[in-house]
Symmetry: C2
Subunit: 342 residues, 2 copies
């Protein structure tokens, strides 16, 4: 073994590439004091008294959940937002998140800088600071796993179970935009075929890139809803899951499902697209059930916070699954009731 | 759109492949009531009163942190144990974990069954139930991200900072086994060259496959140590990180570093291997600093729980980094002081 007169000086035991990358891109997001500026092995958090913790982990993988060409600013935001969407649907407010990111060698500093900038903006906007993380190299595609921690008043997490037959079925925002946005990304001729304006295309594509977690009304859902979940795999398929857990059925009136003007135009041009709208993935809206006596309050209070809540059907006592009715009350059938990223 | 007389019946809105896979392999691990048998979107946990939460996420990726040919039973266990090792080094006891797993198409049920069986055994052994998860397909290698949640008495998480100059430097267990085990995996001639018996080779390789988190003494570390971290990137490199955070230096006496009989044989045969032993990764032992008045108590109480704690050096007041001394008190220098998986 060689020897030397000098010890391994502090500067000589040089920081690894990983340490430098974390310090440069991710330390600025770690504003929670328990994150120790990412200079310790773990984060510490004093749980708020009287609250339960709500925990969720979700990965997004290049080529599976987002496209490699997506702007890096939006990829980090999407990774965080899909988790925040779950917290909102469970009536929980965010406390912070952990980030595990696997980077292929072609990812450069400018990509990382934009990724971290987007993520930082959302961590601030949703009051959900980075608590800790792990950065790795991968021979595969970029993979981002976010684990989010939320808080809800003790015993008040909104479950998938809890539905009462006769409850109204509601959704937030508009349905189907993201699936249409993805269609536009994948089929360059679709915009012309569906006679969509540039602004309409931009709206739909933006909805695919950037989910809108309904964090603003999480507490209202906790107060008024009997059950809830976020819609990530399509309205019909996710509702079927909720029905299974609660042992009930559901009926959707297709004409009452809220569509954005852009989605409405697309469906007007090609009515068969209603299937994609109702079964396509990536909505990240909340699906909830509400007793009829709470419906008005939820709608009014949510509207005051800028979130539309639309009554689209009702829950049934029989275990008949999900029935989607057209304007004439006749059931529609879909080739592929649920979208799956798997 | 086609129509049909029957609604989308519960059985017709068939469970996805992902749902079936989760139900078959992962539901049995979700024993915590707040995991809702993985039938909800998130888990809920009532935090223990008077405790802080300790949070950590760590990924392991095929070809980077483990070898594709590793037995699947051990891969899940390693993924959990690298996180449990951090909790132990922070003086925290496990509460539960979240699992995100990305599966390439070649992974079959027998692989998953063995993976889940190993993970289930460790979830039981370390009283760390699965709380929730996410399963995805990936075009890349298998990637497993575990986020673990632990509890420590309020304000008592063991930090990297907190070292007092003059503190003793201790490690648990033995150092260097896993790095030698990996060497044996990678170099088929190494066993013969180092004159290792089959049992010695098996010991070293097992230490690479299956870290031994020091959860059994987490509370003792909290009571007696001034700072701590787990050794994942090599003793010397990780100690340098601890020194940087605490603004101190450290001196290791190489001859006092505890080696297993197998590692001792290997180093006796090829003395240059001491560098691999002291700087190679994957030890997953605890590195801690302890005041001299607490040393004996920590050692005695840990030994009573089957964990050896060895005094290998001391912490210095000057910011001189890490110095490793040979038997004659002369500093050793290494080509690559720290291992990095990155």
């Amino acid at each position: 073994m060689p020897e030397m007169d000098e010890p391994l000086a502090e500067e000589d035991s040089r920081e690894s590439e990983e340490d430098r990358l974390i310090a440069r891109f991710f330390r600025p997001l770690a504003k929670h004091p328990g994150a120790f500026e990412l200079c310790d092995d773990a984060a510490v958090l004093e749980p708020p008294a009287g609250y339960d913790l709500v925990l969720k982990t979700d990965s997004i993988i290049g080529g599976v959940h987002f496209l490699a060409a997506d702007p890096p600013e939006t990829i980090g935001r999407k990774a965080l937002r899909v988790n925040l969407s779950d917290l909102a649907a469970k009536a929980a407010k965010p406390l912070g998140f952990l980030l595990a990111i696997a980077l292929p060698s072609e990812i450069d500093s400018s990509w990382l800088e934009a990724f971290a900038r987007g993520l930082a903006a959302d961590a601030d906007a949703f009051a959900c600071p980075l608590l800790g993380g792990d950065t790795d190299r991968t021979p595969g595609p970029i993979a981002i796993t976010i684990s989010v921690l939320g808080a809800v008043a003790h015993g008040r997490m909104l479950r998938r179970a809890g539905v009462q037959p006769g409850d109204c079925l509601v959704v937030t925002g508009t349905i189907g935009d993201a699936a249409l946005g993805l269609l536009l990304r994948r089929d360059p001729d679709a915009a012309a075929r569906l006679r969509l304006t540039q602004a309409q295309c931009a709206h739909l594509q933006d909805r695919y890139l950037l989910p809108q977690p309904r964090s603003a009304i999480a507490d209202l859902l906790g107060r008024h809803a009997s059950a809830g979940m976020d819609i990530s795999d399509g309205l019909v398929g996710d509702l079927a899951k909720l029905c299974r857990v609660s042992g009930v059925g559901a009926e959707i009136e297709a004409a009452r499902v809220p569509l954005s003007p852009a989605a409405r135009s697309a469906v007007a041009c090609d009515p068969a697209l209603i299937e994609l709208v109702l079964t396509g993935g990536d909505d990240y809206e909340v699906l909830a059930t509400v007793s009829s006596r709470n419906l008005k309050a939820l709608q009014t209070e949510a509207a005051a916070r800028g979130v539309e809540v639309t009554d689209i059907g009702r829950m049934l006592s029989n275990r008949s699954g999900v029935r989607v009715l057209d304007r004439d009350g006749r059931p529609l059938v879909f080739a592929r009731p649920s979208f799956s990223h798997f």
